[in-house]
Amino acid sequence: MNDLLSLVHSLVNGGMDMAVEMGAPDLILAGIFYALAGVAVLSAVGVVLCRNVVHSALLLTASFIGTGCLYIYLDADFMGAVQFLVYGGAVAILIVMALMLTRRDDMDHSNPSRGLFHQVGAAVVAGGFLLTMGLAALLSPFREAPASPGDSAAGLADLMLTKYVLPFEVAAILLLIAMIGAIILAKGADEA
């Protein structure tokens, strides 16, 4: 897994370094960004439109991976790693298993959508959200001043064990409880 991670890292960062050297950093950076963003967005679109739920799940993973790459693009290596592991791996697998368990028949139409009316309504709501958030992003005069945060894993570890140790513990309990709860709910289902 570590190997894979470093491979991707070297690929992305290597490309960037190359671009910087070539004197057209912005353009190339933009290209990479658009490529990754395209992967993320198109996969996401696929997730919500695919009729086969297994395809949806796979595309979801693709979208997650695209986003994970973007994290690395943003110098958040550790985040990227977690993204691949948790989302790309665990969550996706969990979901696929769930799909298998709850739906054992034909997979082709396993991911039905609501009717057109609903779709239009949903599109309006989603579009509205997009519009407002997009406007918010565009209307805000941020003075960008990228600070190099240094090693993301170390920085995060530091925060997690000092300043945010309490939420860290709480999150641990949260996971524990989620596990217990999931077991009970699922076990209850089995027992019935």
Partner: protein, 479 residues
């Protein structure tokens, strides 16, 4: 790091672990009463312990001002503990009869409690968020805990879906606030002028939406009726009193410490939402026949009242909101204690199920009536004093119209509360005679109901006793 600041949470965590262990140690199929008693005793002990934690002067802080154990937090923690203790007590029978894994049930209750306590003390978004999620996830599970009931599962799914949507929004908001405020700390955020940019303001309202979801204020209320109705009755009780109060606790802290300078921006919104909640909640409750569902709508309205206190945006308003949150706990304990018994004995909580209660169990009927009247704000129950506090504060800030809406709607609410009273007290029709037969009431539940009713009346007649506490707690923000 000052671990004294988190002693309550640590104690709760220890209790949580001991319940887990006890549960595991017990034989399969054995009654889980000991776990319940352990939980209740432990919670009572912690509650007693917290009483000694009120203090003058500076409050203990966990680390870098990120986790405050101030009187404000303490007040809310006591509120949660109180609600939890009583819920455990009155639901002993219910849990044993209707829920498949009572041991874990108590563990989950405690984890939800832990989440709430963290929320009450949290002084940064990350802590608040994790606390909130701990509570929420625990509730997802608790709502779906009644495995014998399909409605319970449906309710849990709905809660999860809408809750996840709300979590997403809140996170979005936090992200934007983080961007604009440059930090996750409430104090640091409050000082950042970028909060006044589009991203900042949008972030603020999204965060607000996330908390308002917990308060089930209109228009973020849609989940509440279904979830309240489907959830096991004790869980509904907790959703109504504790979850909501936790939302209020963190909401007020966020407003007053993270966004203290956004008053002009937020107050019109909050007023509108408060008014909408008061109107909509009460109107929607009118048609309900299921008491739990009715209480869900009523809880929307109650959230509106509390928000009316909050929008006074001053010491008096906060005090009033806290006062109201506390008395609402007692009212809920009473109502849900009765409903739990009814649910366990008669297998439902619709008006049909409470019919004839005044003859089957006169004490329960009386407690139910008193509790409902407290929610409606009819003296001599605590609700009346609470409404006076809230709307005095509201009027003082010039929001007379809000007070008009509040009072008028609370009188309309009497209508649907009285529908329940009517069902309990009316003459039985032919064919309903069995409903008059005495209902076996577990003595603990009876005691819990009585205590809550007594407290409701006591606070109503002598509000000073509680007001002292809220004064003390609300001074936090005045320092």
């Amino acid at each position: 790091m000052d671990f004294m600041a988190v002693q309550t949470e640590i104690l709760i965590l220890l209790l949580l672990l001991s319940t887990l262990v006890t549960d595991l140690a017990m034989a399969k199929g054995a009654s889980r009463r000991p776990v319940a008693y352990l939980t209740a005793a432990g919670l009572a002990a912690i509650l007693a312990h917290t009483c000694g934690l009120y203090h003058e002067g500076a409050s203990p802080v966990f680390y870098m001002g990120l986790f405050l154990a101030d009187n404000y937090a303490l007040f809310f923690k006591q509120l949660f503990l109180l609600g939890m203790v009583f819920t455990v007590l009155f639901s002993l029978d219910y849990v044993e009869r209707c829920l498949p894994h009572p041991g874990e049930f108590y563990s989950l209750l405690l984890s939800a409690l832990l989440g709430m306590c963290v929320m009450a003390s949290a002084n940064d978004f990350l802590t608040a968020f994790t606390g909130l999620e701990l509570m929420t996830v625990s509730f997802y599970i608790l709502v779906g805990f009644r495995l014998s009931s399909a409605d319970s599962g449906e309710a849990a799914v709905k809660y999860l879906i809408v809750g996840a949507g709300s979590t997403a929004v809140m996170l979005y908001g936090i992200s934007l606030v983080y961007g604009a405020g440059g930090s996750l700390d409430f104090a640091a955020v409050s000082r950042n002028v970028h909060l006044f940019t589009a991203v900042g303001l949008a972030g603020v309202v999204l965060v607000m939406a996330g908390f308002l979801f917990k308060l089930s204020a209109i228009p973020f209320h849609m989940w509440a009726p279904d979830v309240y109705q489907g959830a096991p009755t004790p869980v509904t009780a907790l959703l109504a009193m504790a979850s909501k109060a936790a939302g209020i606790a963190v909401f007020m802290r966020v407003i007053f410490t993270a966004f203290p300078y956004l008053g002009e921006f937020m107050l019109p919104l909050l007023k509108t939402i408060a008014a909408l909640s008061m109107i909509g909640g009460n109107l929607l409750a009118i048609r309900q026949t299921d008491v739990k569902r009715m209480l869900a709508y009523s809880s929307i309205a109650q959230a509106g009242y509390m928000m009316a206190g909050i929008v006074a945006a001053d010491y008096f308003g906060m005090k009033a909101a806290m006062f109201y949150a506390m008395l609402y706990v007692f009212a809920n304990i009473g109502a849900f204690a009765v409903l739990s018994v009814v649910d366990a004995e008669r297998g439902g909580t619709s008006r049909r199920h409470v019919t004839g209660l005044s003859q089957a169990a006169p004490m329960l009927a009386a407690v139910m009536t008193i509790s409902l009247l407290s929610m409606a704000g009819i003296p001599p129950t605590a609700g009346f004093a609470g409404k006076i506090y809230i709307f005095t504060a509201t009027v003082e800030r010039g929001n007379l119209w809000l007070a008009v809406i509040g009072f008028v709607m609370s009188m309309i609410s009497v209508y649907y509360y009285l529908q329940v009273t009517k069902a309990m007290y009316r003459d039985l029709e032919p064919g309903e005679e069995t409903l008059a037969e005495p209902l076996p009431v577990p003595s603990v539940a009876r005691a819990a109901a009585l205590v809550s009713a007594a407290a409701t009346l006591a606070i109503g007649i002598c509000p000073e006793s509680l007001a002292v506490l809220t004064n003390f707690a609300s001074q936090t923000f005045m320092q």
